[in-house]
């Protein structure tokens, strides 16, 4: 089955993309993901300086999903640029470069440095829910802040595509998505994790050392599908549907809501490192059974019926 798709001018063999922050620490870990048939990979978000992240526990599963407050650990943009170049050289599939910063100016600085590695796309993580104490509120809660961030980066991006990662915490994610598009974004990633908290009643305290964290996995899928649905109606740029995709059926659900490609993070926990193989096989099986010939044919189809 032909699962190829074109994401903002970037050809993908299949629509599965490793989501940022999962596995993307080193070139080796990315190659391991490539071997397991991901269509593209996103690196762990890179910031201005080296960060160790929050104290553990930073990631665990609570039954209905995963919660994390890794706290944007990364090697910093100087080493990060070298690492990114190494990843791009070593991998055959596209490497999307995720980045973050505390201010719009710093974001543009980080993005500019990363540009030296000539990534096909930069994903602006404007939506990490776990670093409020360090960095203040997420840009992606606010259309204006999003506009400023995206237009600054667009000025220096050249041929590199600019993707914008949105948060389901925004009071109106569609307004933020429209603002990003108007500022020149080439694609939207919907969504990042949903903010949440889990308390252990025996020790009487939140489990994450950061107290709050981002929820991912099956628990958030309906929230992110809704976001993709609404964005699809409001913007023309492609959408990477992300949140709780574990199976080929989940991926197709997002595509029918309007997604061009699908991000997979927590699925690596639920199905194993070969989640990409499993999902693409399951997509093929579904399409064969239902008589679909291409991804394109299914895109947004749920809006028509």
């Amino acid at each position: 089955m032909n699962l190829s798709t074109n994401l903002a001018g970037i050809p993908l063999k299949n629509p599965t993309i490793l989501a940022s922050g999962v596995m993307g620490v080193s070139t080796s870990s990315m190659k391991f993901v490539q071997e397991n048939r991901a269509g593209a990979v996103t690196c762990k978000s890179i910031g201005h300086e080296e960060r160790k992240g929050h104290h553990n526990p930073t990631v665990y599963s609570w039954g209905q999903g995963i919660t994390n407050a890794v706290g944007l650990s990364n090697v910093g943009v100087d080493d990060g640029t070298v690492l990114l170049k190494e990843m791009i050289d070593a991998l055959e599939i596209p490497v999307i470069s995720s980045c973050f910063a505390d201010t719009v100016d710093n974001l543009a600085r980080v993005a500019e440095k990363l540009m030296a590695s000539k990534p096909v796309a930069i994903e602006l993580n404007l939506s990490c829910p776990n670093t409020e104490n360090d960095f203040g509120l997420m840009f992606a809660l606010d259309p204006e802040a999003t506009t400023r961030a995206v237009s600054q980066v667009k000025k220096i991006a050249g041929n590199t595509k600019v993707f914008v990662k949105l948060t389901p915490d925004a009071s109106n994610i569609v307004d933020v998505g429209k603002a990003a598009e108007a500022a020149g974004a080439d694609a939207l990633t919907a969504t990042n994790t949903l903010s949440g908290m889990i308390i252990d009643i025996h020790t009487k305290r939140p489990i994450l050392t950061n107290k709050f964290g981002g929820l991912s996995g099956p628990a958030i899928k309906p929230v992110s599908v809704r976001a993709v649905w609404n964005l699809y109606n409001a913007v023309k740029i492609p959408i990477i549907g992300t949140g709780g995709i574990n199976t080929g059926e989940d991926a197709i659900e997002y595509i029918m809501a309007g997604a061009t490609a699908v991000g997979i993070g927590s699925g690596v926990y639920y199905r194993g490192i070969d989640v990409f193989k499993k999902i693409t096989d399951e997509m093929s099986a579904f399409m064969e059974k239902e008589g679909y010939k291409s991804i394109e044919e299914m895109r947004g189809i749920a809006h028509k019926s």
Binding site: G21, V22, M23, G24, V25, S26, T27, S28, S29, M30, K31, F32, V33, E35, K44, E50, R51, K52, G53, H55, N56, P57, T58, V59, Y60, S61, W62, G63, I66, N68, V70, S73, N74, V75, G76, D79, I198, D200, H202, T203, R205, I207, T209, G265, S266, V268, Y269, G272, I273
Partner: protein, 312 residues
């Protein structure tokens, strides 16, 4: 396996400390009244509420139940040493790969420091299968030879060594292990060895200096297992390669999620996760891990060379 008892815990399970045993100045053992699942080589993520969460090897000592043994090396492990009976800790796991025992024969365990944690549990399981266990345990001084009396009780043959010579050989356990290996050429009298060491075209295999060092096991020693400082593990690996001894090693890397998604514990160049594909790695697979004995990654993901590899 059925029932909640054997379920994997991916959300920290809060358990009160039932008993604390002071093993030495640096090591304390914490015992819990709960049948936590797990096999030798696997680990738990231990949550110190409000403070941190760290990986520790699982021990399930017969008659004691689930326990962890912690060497105080830094902030979190020192915080653990301050805890008292009744205090709560949270556990996720069991995580990672397990050691694999041969069906019969004898094994060698080469342990440094808290490497005795997974290896003591392995020794117990091996003794249950009637496998002979040779333990090459090294420590700074006599008092730090972890679990020595437990190992004696279950009939482990101990070859101790200490830095100060207060017990056993004065020097490194690796040296004792190497001596042992090279001084025990194959004996062709043993039926298992006879079978394993015959060439298909007849006649014995000549260049196997290590008794019974075949995948089939049998003979004096079938397999070696090593856990401890990476420099020690590296030396043990060299000895095993040089003498055709199948072996397994536990390779520790910085852990965050413990269940295979954060990518923090991946090794070069294969990308295997030491919390899923590891920490127990077979000697043959270890050949593919180029960073073994050279460097690891810190919490940020930055590569940090080991001191002995600094100027290379």
């Amino acid at each position: 396996m059925t029932g909640t008892k054997h379920m994997k815990h991916d959300k920290p399970l809060a358990l009160p400390i039932k008993k604390i045993i002071t093993e030495s100045e640096r090591v304390k053992t914490f015992v819990f009244d709960y049948d936590f699942p797990g096999e030798p080589g696997q680990f738990v993520m231990c949550w110190i509420p409000g403070f941190d969460e760290k990986p520790f090897g699982i021990i399930k000592k017969d008659g004691f139940g689930f326990m962890i043994s912690v060497a105080a090396v830094g902030e979190s492990t020192k915080a653990l040493h301050m805890m008292e009976v009744g205090d709560m800790l949270g556990f996720r796991g069991p995580y990672g790969s397990t050691f694999n025992l041969p069906d019969f024969g004898s094994i060698a365990l080469v342990a440094g420091g808290y490497g005795m944690v997974p290896l003591s549990f392995l020794a117990q399981e091996a003794r249950k299968k009637d496998i002979d266990v040779h333990l090459f345990i090294g420590a700074r001084t006599k008092e730090e030879l972890l679990f020595k009396s437990w190992m004696e009780e279950i009939g482990v043959i101990i070859h101790p060594s200490t830095d100060d010579g207060s017990e056993g050989f004065k020097g490194f356990n690796v040296q004792v292990f190497e001596d042992f290996v090279t001084k025990h050429p194959p004996s062709f009298g043993h039926p298992h060895v006879e079978r394993a060491l015959r060439l298909p075209e007849g006649g014995p295999i000549k260049d196997l200096p290590f008794e019974g060092s075949t995948p089939q096991g049998g003979g004096m020693l079938s397999k070696a297992y090593t856990v401890g400082p990476e420099i020690m593990e590296m030396k043990v690996a060299e000895i095993c390669y040089a003498n055709n001894i199948p072996f397994e090693v536990s390779l520790e890397r910085y852990m965050k999620c413990g269940f295979g998604i954060c990518g923090q514990c991946c090794v070069d160049p294969v990308g295997w996760r030491m919390c899923v594909e590891g920490p127990v790695i077979d000697g043959e697979k270890l050949k593919q891990i180029s960073e073994f004995g050279k460097y690891h990654r810190t919490a940020s993901g930055k590569v940090e060379k080991y001191p002995w590899n600094k100027d290379k």
